[in-house]
């Protein structure tokens, strides 16, 4: 299994000044009007040692680990909107590492181990809650395949247990285990170490800690071009002018093909909308996360009390940040039958994000043909859970210009060699 050398409380620098019970009390006296800024808003310098394009969770994590682990502090994160305003703020916040293939187990469990110490590392409450992730099966075939997958996952040292319908009913009293429904609950498997975290806090926590180490975080600054000199990257053209850098890391999810085209780098990516919605808030009812492969549904309850539901990916390419209605409609129809109490809830918000789907449903963490230009993309529908691990190994790749053991299988050349990491279906959810 992957080691996590940089895991552990307060071993990494960054994230000052500390938040504590004392600062909370002190600031309460001034009605919380005088809290310090969590990060600066600097104007871009003329050049940096490295630029990260994309101020979402993965990009900010990359910048943080570049500064904290590799001591590269003369770096910048360039974001066209606001921090975490893309898929980081649009996902359903589920964290798990129960993937079947060894390469996936390595990276997702590396991420999960980092999650477990991250609130302390960043001195920022990520509201990380290991409430368990239960994936349910709706047919005998799915159940058998699930058992096979559970064995593979356990061989990689990742916790996973198969549950029968009665055990599931005990864990989730609101579930309907009547065998006559359209998607009957025939069993499931549970990763108890899985759970949720507050997605905005992840972006803010990384941004604050990276800023403290000297990283310039430049918001409202769109990259309009990637300047190449021959086979080398020279820097990025932005709406705030040209910024020079010998190393540029692109972490822009749905827009990676657009960015790649600026430097004539081609990717096997299709950008699709992925939709989610929340209900009106209710009292605590669901204290775990439930996913269904066959329906392509995820459900959990937020700390505010909203039921958070995620649907499947749309079937056609789009950059519109909205999806088509039949996709959530299909998911809700099944969800209401499996969880009858949902039928009485009203939907509060519904949104979409553009995800970068890859042919083998695994990410791309890779060098490119352009020296100094790196891509971290292709996370598709499941990138949030990997945020710390993705940033950690991508920072390592950028710092050393060679992938480490965890990142190596995710190089772009796998689409030439055929060494795909085929997580379609095997991933525990149909991508």
């Amino acid at each position: 299994m992957a080691e996590s050398p940089d895991r552990g409380a307060r071993r990494l620098p960054g994230g000052k000044p500390k938040y504590s019970i004392f600062s909370l009390l002190r600031n309460a006296r001034s009605y919380h009007q005088n809290w310090q800024r969590a990060w600066r808003s600097p104007e871009p310098k003329k050049s940096y040692d490295a630029i990260i394009i994309g101020g979402g969770g993965h990009g900010l994590a990359t910048a943080y680990y570049l500064a904290a682990v590799h001591r590269m502090t003369n770096i910048a994160v360039v974001e066209k909107g606001w921090l975490g305003g893309g898929n980081t703020g649009r996902n359903t916040t589920i964290i798990r590492s129960n993937y079947m293939w060894d390469e996936s187990a390595a990276i997702y469990d590396h991420a999960l181990k980092l999650w477990e110490g991250l609130t302390q590392d960043l001195n920022f409450n990520l509201m990380f809650s290991q409430r368990g992730v239960l994936t349910i099966a709706h047919s005998w075939h799915e159940l058998r395949e699930m058992s096979r997958r559970v064995h593979a996952i356990r061989l990689n040292g990742i916790d996973s247990d198969v549950l029968n319908p009665d055990q599931i009913k005990k864990l989730v009293p609101m579930i309907n285990i009547d065998p006559s429904i359209r998607y009957p609950v025939m069993g499931g498997f549970l990763q108890r170490r899985g759970g949720t975290a507050r997605h905005d806090a992840v972006a803010w926590g990384y941004a604050r800690a990276a800023d403290d180490l000297g990283v310039d975080i430049i918001q409202n600054c769109e990259v309009t071009g990637l300047r190449r000199k021959g086979n080398r990257i020279e820097g990025v053209e932005t709406t705030k002018g040209f910024i020079k850098a010998p190393k540029v890391g692109c972490v822009v999810a749905g827009h990676c093909s657009v960015l790649g085209a600026m430097a004539d780098v081609r990717l096997p990516i299709a950008s699709r909308p992925l939709q989610a919605l929340v209900s009106e808030p209710i009292k605590p009812e669901l204290d775990t996360v439930i996913m269904s492969n066959a329906v392509h549904m995820y459900i959990s309850q937020s700390d505010k009390g909203e039921m958070v539901l995620g649907a499947g990916v749309d079937k056609y390419n789009s950059y519109a940040q909205r999806g088509s209605f039949p996709v959530p409609e299909h998911m809700i129809a099944a969800a209401v039958e499996i969880f009858p109490i949902l039928s009485r809830l009203r939907m509060l918000r519904h949104w979409g994000g553009i995800v970068d789907t890859c042919p083998d449903a695994s990410p791309i963490i890779s060098k490119t043909d352009v020296k100094g230009l790196y891509f971290n993309c292709g996370w598709g529908t499941g990138g949030f859970k990997a945020t710390p691990g993705s940033g950690h190994v991508f920072a390592d790749l950028i710092a050393h210009d060679r992938p480490n053991k965890i990142a190596a299988p995710y190089a772009l050349d796998r689409f030439q060699t055929g060494l795909l990491i085929d997580e379609h279906g095997a991933a525990g959810v149909a991508h």
């Binding site: 085209a261 096997p268 030439q416």
Partner: protein
């Protein structure tokens, strides 16, 4: 919900259709003489433009026939629907076809009938 104008059946709901992804990807005939990297262009590399995209659709729950479409991936508007085996005729469609990086790839060059002579049987 998109209303898609099937060339055979007329306007129908999008739930009746499936999208087959990028159109005009020709299989290299000279597959023995091109490199793995060039074959990957055909097999895995995909055009993914923000704007006009040429793609294939199938009217699954209707006539079950395939057709091509030029669609804007930002507005979702269908700009042109044209038969399989033909090229787009509108200006937007023509520009999208000519502007695609795929036109310059080795895998597309190897898909031309004349290139087949280069391949070994």
């Amino acid at each position: 919900m998109l209303l898609i104008d099937c060339p055979h059946c007329g306007p129908r709901d999008e739930t009746e259709f499936s999208c087959g992804g990028e159109a005009h990807i020709a299989r290299p005939l000279a597959e023995n003489s091109i490199t793995d990297a060039e074959f990957a262009e055909y097999l895995f590399w995909r055009d993914n433009p923000k704007g006009v995209f040429l793609e294939r659709w199938c009217h699954d729950a209707g006539c079950r026939r395939w057709f091509n479409a030029a669609r804007d991936t930002v507005s979702h508007a269908f700009l042109e629907i044209y038969p399989m085996g033909s090229l787009p005729k509108t200006d937007a469609g023509k520009a999208a076809y000519a502007g695609s990086w795929r036109r310059k790839t080795a895998s597309e060059a190897a898909a031309k009938p004349s290139s087949a002579k280069g391949g070994k049987a």
